[in-house]
Symmetry: C2
Subunit: 349 residues, 2 copies
């Protein structure tokens, strides 16, 4: 199961470009730029993509699939990650157009392309593939801390909330580790990470009894590497997603953790009655939860300062370093070097 077959991707963001839920498209552009030929979004067509997401210069935005013919795409990738994971009705016509145009469809939604009668029948007749990236397949493995006996050192990115930079931090750390000469792997645990890396399992789509087991199985695939950076999910305090976060903690038995944080994120999913707990408390809770199985510390804070100016970002970093007594940096703004150094010091590699 790999993305390598599709190297001319059309990203579908219809009505969502520049909005939070288009983070899937944004991440593909950031980490698989060479494979992206265009974006489909009738509400943004013709305008420069960097006016929406700040980068991606040169990627055309077209109003529909037919207008993308000259880009010679081989797949349409649903570029959103909405809460609940359903396919918005406004996107269906683009998906149907793409099937008719002979493109494969790639989706990371909980919604399954292959279980939708109309899409499945249309794809069968046209002979195109429907790839449900989030479908974990059969998973009945139970976790029992086996990751602890594997050679690979395990670094898990955790977060004070969902959608806060856990995948980006793990990818940036892996890249920095490779540059530093380490034999480093990235372990994808969510749909976008899988689309970028070409393999992995969406832990949030695994039956809860086997979620930790699926995480353990992922680590087993890089057991003989030197170090791996595991993309975390959700947050241990999140009212909906905490189970996924804990499955990753106990399934991967991290040797070190990086806490991802966004200053000003005061509530989960903007619900006024779902406050984000203070970062110090969340660090302590994560450490307490892994202690009986495999004691590990949070060794650094990865700060998400998107949209802030440099002064604001620096002030937040300084304040958090003071509060947590940890290395704090934004790997996108200033690079991940301080975080990698903290990891290497903690692990002695």
């Amino acid at each position: 199961m790999t993305l390598a077959r599709y190297n001319r991707l059309l990203l579908l963001t219809e009505g969502s470009l520049g909005v939070f839920t288009s983070k899937t498209a944004v991440s593909l552009i950031r980490y698989r730029r060479e494979a992206v030929v265009g974006v489909v979004d009738s509400t943004a067509a013709g305008r420069p993509i960097e006016s929406f997401i700040g980068f991606g210069h040169g990627i055309p935005i077209v109003p529909d699939v037919n207008a993308a013919a000259s880009l010679a795409p081989d797949a349409l990738l649903v570029g959103i990650a909405p809460s609940g994971g359903q396919l918005p009705e406004r996107m269906r016509r683009h998906v149907l157009d793409a099937i008719d145009a002979g493109l494969a469809i790639i989706s990371g939604l909980h919604f399954r392309l292959r279980e939708d009668a109309e899409l499945a029948e249309r794809a069968r007749r046209r002979g195109v593939e429907l790839w449900d990236v989030r479908d974990p397949g059969p998973t009945t493995h139970l976790a029992f801390g086996r990751a602890r006996s594997m050679r690979v050192k395990r670094v898990l990115t955790i977060g004070t909330d969902c959608a806060i930079g856990k995948m980006v931090t793990a990818l940036e750390l892996r890249a920095a580790a490779v540059r530093a000469g380490l034999d480093a792997a990235f372990v994808a645990t969510g749909q976008t990470g899988i689309m970028i890396e070409g393999w992995g399992t969406s832990i949030d789509a695994v039956v809860s009894d086997f979620a930790a087991g699926a995480a353990e199985s992922l680590v087993a695939r890089v057991a003989d590497r030197q170090i791996c950076f595991i993309e975390g999910q959700g947050s241990i305090e999140h009212p909906a997603y905490s189970a996924v976060a804990l499955a990753l903690l106990h399934g991967t038995c991290p040797d070190a953790m990086i806490m991802c944080h966004r200053p000003g994120r005061t509530h989960h999913n903007e619900k006024p009655d779902c406050p984000v707990a203070p970062i110090e408390e969340q660090i302590a809770l994560n450490e307490a939860l892994v202690a009986p199985l495999h004691p590990a510390r949070v060794v650094g804070v990865s700060l998400n300062t998107a949209g802030m100016n440099d002064r604001e970002a620096a002030e937040h970093a300084a304040e958090l370093a003071e509060r947590t007594r940890l290395v704090v940096c934004d790997p996108i703004r200033t690079g991940p070097a301080p975080l990698l150094a903290a990891v290497r010091e903690a692990l002695g590699i």
Copy 2:
């Protein structure tokens, strides 16, 4: 989806009676005694059932389904809950015999009767129902602490390990509350609880993203009752099942918790490298995990002292009361009254 249709149950335990994994059969005999007509187990046939489980006098054990004809069963219920949830090969012939005899099949395994080609085809031809109790059906609801705004007071049984008495404690507390004149409900969150109560959702079979949401939806079904006792699952420290435990904590937003504990249970699933954390630490962790969303305390300890003599049981209770400063009792040995009193005091009802 209710069990009420089947009132003459044959419990299948082949080779497992008296063994830990037959807890499903044991619980059905304890809580639906009037609906149990016999047990199928060729390794125990003809012997008194109380020699295996200590109660159930008068329930015949037969070697196979054909020998049970005179008992006039209407369903064969797979009476085991093995780790991993697969159907042991030694049980398959009994299931096939039962289908041929026109019995419905009821199973709480992760294994799905309806997805097994041989069983499905045989059942279709014979016109009998295959009921996969653990199949949660479509579940795409996300939890956001909505249980907090419901009228019903919520008491969650949690545990220091899996299979330690969380369902039994919730059932005993519900019964005691009803006897005391309260409008009390039991919320089943696992296959055996569902088989006993006739409704519920196996949270461990729900996709991890929606596990807390499924728990929230269960509470909504008793929203207007006075109090409910929610069956917990797993343990917050369990290497495989912690995600399920946390989904229940955040999905149900308990007003009070009862910690279930078995003295001498030193390791999860008898794995020498998976120690059970001290009960005080686990109480503190559960309380810390719910604090940001809905602060609640553990108000009592339900002790599982099966197989101990009265003196041993009393010593363990006294020691734990000293350590935890909480009410401690075994609801099966001495009744749940002290635990119910602690709950009522904490909730002011």
